[in-house]
């Protein structure tokens, strides 16, 4: 039976999606959740080694290299699949409740198909299957993101244009290699590519460039970093966690599949290195560091909660990219670790924001406030999530960020390290802003009636909290699978056991660290509880230091200052053209459209009509002779 498990993982969900299209609302979302849960349990139960690769010939013979549907569960694929399927299971449980009559976004069938093709991308063992699943996933994402509203669709369109550009160049790269070694299989092409890179053959770099274009656009690194802000923010609220947590990781998976084996298996002297790192990886390092900084700055100054989290995802991908570009065992492990952590804490954050929007219908941060009183569990989840995201010890984020910095120090990449330091302090700024504007501050009169989320929706939140604390307490939970992945690439493992991780310059026992911070927090909580008589001071009084707000013309409503939270810092950074790349891409698009209309009307104009035959003949002769 296990022979047909892999194709089932890929083909079954889309078929179920087709079926779901005809089911009533609740059954659809239930089917979605059950499929995601089944995928997660199957993958957790299975060890990568045991699965037999599956391959079947496609009905297109005589196309040169034999075309086929080849699926295989490599350790890297297993790691990414387990992480994303666990996260998806909890997201779909959340969506199950989120989509009641009022909020139903009707995307369950598309979501189901997306799950199937998503796992298809990880399981694919040949470039054609990889391309087919990759392309269909981006088409489905476009339809889901642009499902309801016009401007959401144009957001999706940016995303689709970039990923179409990427996937077609991926196909061209795969063909380029297939013409030489006659097969589309991923491992064959990697062996050839490594051979080319090692032998310094000129064709190696364009092929590598073609592959990376696909992965850079999907992983939203520097030049292509502006689409997540549109797409994640405009996507249906319960879909954003999946989009931001899982879907954006396909790009990183691609980098893992291509860059890691190629650069780790080329002999030392083959590629010119800058400070010990092959130059492409060095460039990737700087690109990702830049992405981290830009992502953080953009996140600090945005007012929309989902857009803020989207920019934070871009920043976190910058961290992962920099870690990966350290070209060391520690760096690769740190990248994988942070990737897994990001899935959890970013998923938690988006889920809580979705829960808040589900209850209050608000998304602009300055219109919310004081919700901690009404939704304590959501508040706790968001609190733990931002502690993890900021990389503060008790939570999981600290372990992976610490490993990233260890990797950078090991390779003396000091400038990239400083960029990441700047970015992570910036992270704390925008994370606190989100926490404060949504949960702390003045509870506005409109949200008096707001109640906590129902039980089923609270379940995933509790799961996230437990996961964050568990990994914070024992990073080995994730480092063990990471070591399997490293072993599969022939690298030696990161020296660690369940709770202790040995970095380049130091080692940390996370259990004791967790104990210390936990004890401190408990102590503070104890004082808070025993603290005796406390007068409940409405927020408004301490803002106006005792003055009567009415004579200042202030109402609790207007005094929520979350609107321009970091205005002074904004002035500080006003010199840096933050929105530059969006403006650049918009200008390029407008220029393309103008040339298009020039062509459209140019030839059609009457004055030119009779001469274009002559021009055509002249062009035909010119092209013919021009050789």
């Amino acid at each position: 039976m296990t022979k047909y498990l892999l194709p089932a993982l890929v083909i079954l969900p889309p078929v179920l999606g087709l079926l779901a299209a005809f089911l009533p609302r609740l059954l659809r979302w239930l089917l979605l959740f059950l499929t995601a849960l089944a995928t997660a349990t199957v993958l957790v139960a299975v060890r990568p080694g045991e699965m037999m690769p599956f391959s079947a010939a496609l009905p297109v013979d005589a196309l040169g290299p034999a075309l086929g549907l080849h699926l295989a569960l490599t350790p890297t694929a297993w790691f990414f699949l387990v992480m994303s399927s666990l996260a998806t299971a909890s997201f779909t449980l959340f969506s199950l409740v989120f989509n009641d009559e009022r909020h139903d976004s009707g995307i369950a069938p598309l979501y189901l198909a997306l799950l199937g093709f998503g796992s298809g991308v990880f399981l694919a063992a040949d470039w054609i299957t990889f391309f087919v699943c990759w392309e269909l996933a981006s088409v489905l994402t476009l339809i889901i993101v642009g499902h309801r509203r016009g401007h959401a669709f144009s957001a999706g369109l940016w995303y689709f244009a970039l990923s179409a550009l990427g996937s077609l160049s991926l196909l061209a790269g795969a063909w380029w290699i297939a013409l030489h070694n006659g097969s589309f299989r991923i491992d064959d092409s990697l062996v050839t590519l490594t051979g080319w890179v090692a032998s310094g053959r000129a064709a190696a770099w364009p092929v590598l460039g073609l592959f990376s274009l696909a992965f850079l656009t999907k992983a939203a690194l520097f030049p292509f970093h502006m689409w997540p802000a549109f797409a994640h923010a405009e996507a249906p609220d319960d879909f954003s966690p999946f989009l931001s947590g899982v879907l954006i990781k396909y790009g990183i998976y691609g980098l893992f599949v291509v860059w890691v084996p190629v650069f780790f298996h080329t002999p030392e002297g083959a590629v010119r290195t800058i400070s010990g790192i092959p130059w492409p990886l060095y460039i990737l390092g700087w690109v990702s560091a830049l992405t981290a900084v830009v992502g953080t700055l953009m996140a600090i100054f945005t007012n929309d909660a989902k857009r803020l989290l989207a920019w934070s995802t871009v920043a976190n991908l910058g961290y992962i990219g920099t870690a990966l570009s350290a070209h060391s065992v520690l760096g690769t492990a740190a990248a994988l670790f942070h990737l897994a952590n990001h899935m959890v804490f970013k998923g938690a954050m988006f889920t809580t924001v979705a829960a808040v929007k589900w209850r209050t219908g608000e998304r602009e941060m300055h219109r919310m406030g004081g919700l901690a009183l009404r939704m304590p569990l959501t508040f706790m989840t968001f609190l733990l999530a931002i502690i993890a995201a900021a990389g503060i010890p008790p939570m999981s984020g600290f372990a992976s960020k610490w490993m990233i910095f260890q990797a950078l120090f090991e390779k003396q990449l000091v400038f990239q390290a400083t960029a990441l330091f700047f970015a992570s302090t910036g992270a704390f700024l925008y994370l606190y802003r989100a926490l404060h504007s949504i949960f702390l501050g003045q509870l506005s009169t409109r949200h008096e009636h707001v109640r906590e989320v129902p039980f089923l929706m609270a379940l995933p939140m509790v799961a996230f909290m437990l996961a964050l604390m568990a990994v914070g307490f024992a990073p080995g939970l994730i480092l063990k699978p990471v070591n399997w992945v490293l072993a599969s690439h022939g690298l030696d493992a990161v020296r660690s056991n369940w709770t202790i991780v040995v970095g380049a310059t130091a080692h940390i026992d996370f259990a004791t660290l967790f104990g210390v911070f936990g004890f401190a927090a408990a102590l503070v909580f104890l004082f808070f509880v025993l603290g005796g008589r406390r007068t409940k001071v409405p927020m408004m009084d301490n803002y106006t230091s005792g003055e009567d707000p009415a004579d200042w013309g202030l109402t609790p409503e207007r005094y929520q200052y979350a609107y321009a939270f970091y205005q002074p810092i904004r002035v500080l950074f006003s010199r840096i053209p933050l929105g530059a790349t969006e403006a650049l891409f918009a200008r390029v698009a407008r220029a393309l459209v103008r040339t298009g209309s020039l062509v459209a009307d140019g030839f059609a104009s009457a004055a030119f009509s009779t001469w274009s035959i002559l021009l055509g003949a002249a062009l035909l002769i010119l092209f013919g002779v021009l050789s």
Partner: protein, 526 residues
Amino acid sequence: MSAAVAFIAAPLAAAFLLPLLGTRPTWGTRAASLLTLGALFALGAWMLAGPVPPHVIVLGGWRAPFGISLYVDASSLMLVTLFELLALAALWFQHQHGQEKPVSFDVLVLVLMAAGAGAVLTQDLFNLFVFLEIATVAALALSAPQTGSPRGVIRYWLFSAVSGAAMLLGIAILYSGAGTLNLVDLGARWGRLAEPVRWLSGVLILLGFLVKMEIMPFHGWAPATYRRAPSSVGLLLSGVVTGLAAFSAWKFFALVLRGGTSLPPVSGVFSFSQALFGLGALTLILGALAMLAEKDGKRLLAFSTISQMGLVLMALALGNPRAVRGALFLVFSHALGKSLLFLVAGIAVSRTRRSEWGAWRGLGQSSRSLVWFWFLGTATVVGLPLVPGFWGKLSFVGGALGMGMWGKAGVALLIAATVAESVALLRVGHGLWEHADLRKRSGDVDETSAAAGAAPACKACAGVSYWAGALAISAGILWMGLWPATFTRAFADTAAAYAGDQPVSVVRTSTDAFAPRRDGQGQVKP
């Protein structure tokens, strides 16, 4: 075995007889024309069910190169059957949704079918010229607008007439030089022609094909003509006329100009492969960009056809078997996908009386099928996976990358053009899907949403012809996309048969055809 002649004789016979039933369109004339097309489609499907051995049909009893012969193999038969399907869908759609047209509309569609079959099957150069002229005359008359300015169609006539004259001059030069008109024979004698005769006749003849394939800069007529012509005629123009022009251009290019094998100069200083590749690349990218700028729905589809035909021309110019297979796939997928888009555009225009796709906003709310067929059509034309276009682009990229710097530049242009084209088409698709009432909520209520709101929200008036045509074409798309084995084998055999110096399966009329046919004992062989 000579059943294939029916594809030419039957529509002509029906076309001649149809006016006898009167010039006013009655249900009788409509049924007759639809039945003829249906019967021909059934015949094609039946012939394709079994294996189709490539065979030659000699006409008039005189074998090539004296008489005219038709060469019938699997892919040409598939293309002819595709034409019948498209014509059936277009004509039925026109009867139900288009303006009232006299019987001569059905007559001209039948004549166009005969011309399409003739151009695809014939092996004689002058006969090919005659069939192309018939197709032009039929297409011109069909696309003449009843209201509004015929300037687009006049320019179409001008381009066709001038390129027809140029083609005739090219045929005259080629005949006087080579002494024969059969394509295979011309190919055999191509080597002995003088250099100016070769490239001059080649260029002049290619002009005729390029105008019908709407290659830039010969495309000036296409946008204006598509805009004013009925959508069903737009379907025929972009599916049938460009299809037959592309297939016959490739036959001429592969058999006579021997462009089959390589990009570098084939005949002396002038390389036809390079010339066609350059023009194709120019058309591909400029057509796609023009789509981004286009506000008018039907002009948008015109530029999409222009861009796709540029890609087909590039694939044909490359000539290696993989690229040619990609070209044939693209011709089929473009014809199928584009016809879906035209059916939807036809409904949209007949509802809103406006051809700007901005005015079609919200139509998808009243009949959901518009949106699904539009997305399926876009996927096919753009070449997303699991639809025929994908196989076409896949084999084109494979073929192009193997051809050095030119090929790689072509692939880069293909990527950019595909992205631009998919963005342009998806934009319109979402316009159809968008909620009409949404515009009110988001505050910018303009008259289009009022018009869209006012458009009759009846599902029934989408009509049976629209449903039947669209479902048949979608079935074709899904079959060709999910199970393309039969198509790849057929296209591979055709590509192999035409390429190379010795077209194996095409009747070999070697130059000794003129020696008296006496066998050893002096007996006269029949």
